[in-house]
């Protein structure tokens, strides 16, 4: 006789059946859920599309608006940059169904915009490398790109645009990278890792303007040798400039020099 708990061979079949129907039901639920999510997503994307088309010119011309829009895209997992990166492959074929998100909605202008910014950032990094050792603040970079070199060549951008532009160069190799030191973000254009001590010193310079060995010893409780080694390393990499005319050698960051270079 078969009880609910089931004994004997029959019970195995019974249990299998139960598991199976649970699994089936689960799958049904999942696919229903997926379908509804997909609908939502496609609705959303089409709304985003409409929005982008409607406000296209504003997105292109207004940096704040552009940044907000990009942030919104990011929040819902539409990565405009992922779009930019595949653009190159598709551009020759024309805007096919594989064309990037940005290309689809902005007709390619948006990618071009970021590439334009990226070109200027790379130029700037190259020009100033001997001055700052290949480390340039995102903020300084933005100001400089904003000013432009020739009259009328200024490009009004936000920090966000600069970051995005640098990231868009990712597929070309690790030439440029964003690093964070303290509260500031930098674009690093020489392949060099900063160790913890070096970052700490750069952070101190951000706050105090400059450092000296005795300041490091007093503030961070470092041994003299340690402090000296760190500043010597930074000096050797061209990341700080030396002022030997004070009572003690002072080390300054060249980040504010950009105004008149070139």
């Amino acid at each position: 006789m078969a009880t609910r708990r089931g004994v004997g061979i029959g019970a195995f079949a019974n249990r299998n059946q139960t598991t199976q129907s649970y699994a089936n039901h689960g799958a049904t639920l999942r696919s229903a859920h997926l379908a509804s999510l997909q609908t939502q997503l496609s609705v959303f994307q089409s709304l985003l599309h409409t929005f982008a088309v409607e406000h296209g010119s504003k997105i292109k011309s207004n940096p704040t608006f552009r940044a907000e829009f990009a942030r919104m895209c990011n929040a819902i997992g539409v990565d405009p940059l992922a779009g930019s990166n595949v653009k190159g492959k598709n551009s020759r074929k024309g805007a096919g169904e594989n064309a990037s998100f940005w290309t689809q909605i902005m007709g390619g202008d948006m990618n071009d915009f970021y590439f334009e910014v990226a070109v200027r950032v790379v130029e700037l990094c190259r020009e100033t490398r001997s001055e700052n050792g290949g480390l340039i603040g995102v903020e300084e970079c933005r100001k400089r790109v904003g000013k432009g070199k020739a009259i009328g060549s200024g490009l009004e951008v936000t920090d966000d645009d600069v970051l995005r532009a640098v990231q868009s160069l990712g597929p070309l190799g690790p030439g440029l990278a964003i690093i964070r030191v303290g509260r500031k973000q930098y674009i690093r254009s020489v392949p060099k890792e900063l160790n913890t001590d070096q970052s700490t010193v750069l952070e101190v310079i951000q706050v105090l303007g400059y450092v000296s060995v005795s300041m490091l010893r007093a503030n961070l409780n470092w041994e003299k040798a340690r402090a000296q080694t760190v500043v010597d390393d930074l000096l050797a990499d061209g990341l700080v400039w030396l002022d030997a005319q004070g009572e003690e050698n002072e080390y300054w960051s060249p980040q504010n020099l950009l105004d008149d270079s070139g």
Binding site: R129, S130, E131, G133, Y210, L235, A236, D237, G238, W241, L242, D243, A244, Q245, G246, E250, Y251, W252, P254, N256, L257, D259, D260, S261
Partner: protein, 187 residues
């Protein structure tokens, strides 16, 4: 330099204390020398001067930043000018300066425009004012009323002669006479 002239606008580098210490890192040093060269040139341009006497200039605001109490030492200032005299191929500043007193290296000509650049400007001026085939004295060219508005007005005569020589070599001018009585004819 006249008192009425607007004060010279120093670049932001000038307020950067390490600017006055020769940088130990060679790449940084190059960048520093470029900035000094640019500063010396724009300083001379602003003051319309074509020669710099180091022993005087060393105490002037050019090399002495009173606000920061930082200065370029005599040796460092000489190094800057020395660098400026070299050609770019030798890792120098593109012959923007020229020592006028040989090895004592105290007085230098500052070419804030190279002779070739001046030659081009003068030639354009001659063209635009229709003075081809006209004979001018060099004095007239430098001090005359006709060139009051030109950038080279008041230029040392020997500097002007150097620039004119460029045009002579190009076959665009002929210089004759001598001893401060030089005349020039443009073609």
């Amino acid at each position: 330099m006249s008192a009425a002239a607007p004060p010279f606008q120093f670049p932001s580098t000038y307020s950067f204390p390490p600017f006055f210490t020769p940088q130990p890192n060679s790449a940084t040093r190059t960048s520093q020398l470029q900035k000094w060269s640019a500063l010396v040139q724009s300083w001379c341009r602003h003051h319309r001067t074509y020669r710099l006497t180091l022993s005087d200039a060393i105490e002037s605001p050019l090399f002495y930043n009173a606000a920061l109490r930082k200065r370029l030492s005599m040796k460092d200032a000489r190094d800057v000018l020395d660098w400026m005299t070299k050609e770019e191929e030798e890792g120098g500043g593109g012959q923007r300066a020229e020592w006028l007193d040989g090895s004592s290296k105290n007085v230098a000509r500052i070419w804030w425009k190279r002779p070739e650049e001046w030659a081009g400007i003068v030639a354009d001026w001659v063209e635009n004012t229709g003075q081809k085939n006209v004979v001018l004295t060099v004095y007239e060219l430098v001090e005359g009323e006709g060139t009051m508005s030109q950038e080279w007005h008041g230029m040392d005569t020997d500097v002007m002669l150097k620039c004119l020589n460029v045009l002579v070599k190009r076959g665009k001018a002929q210089v004759f006479g001598g001893d401060g009585q030089e005349g020039v004819k443009f073609f």
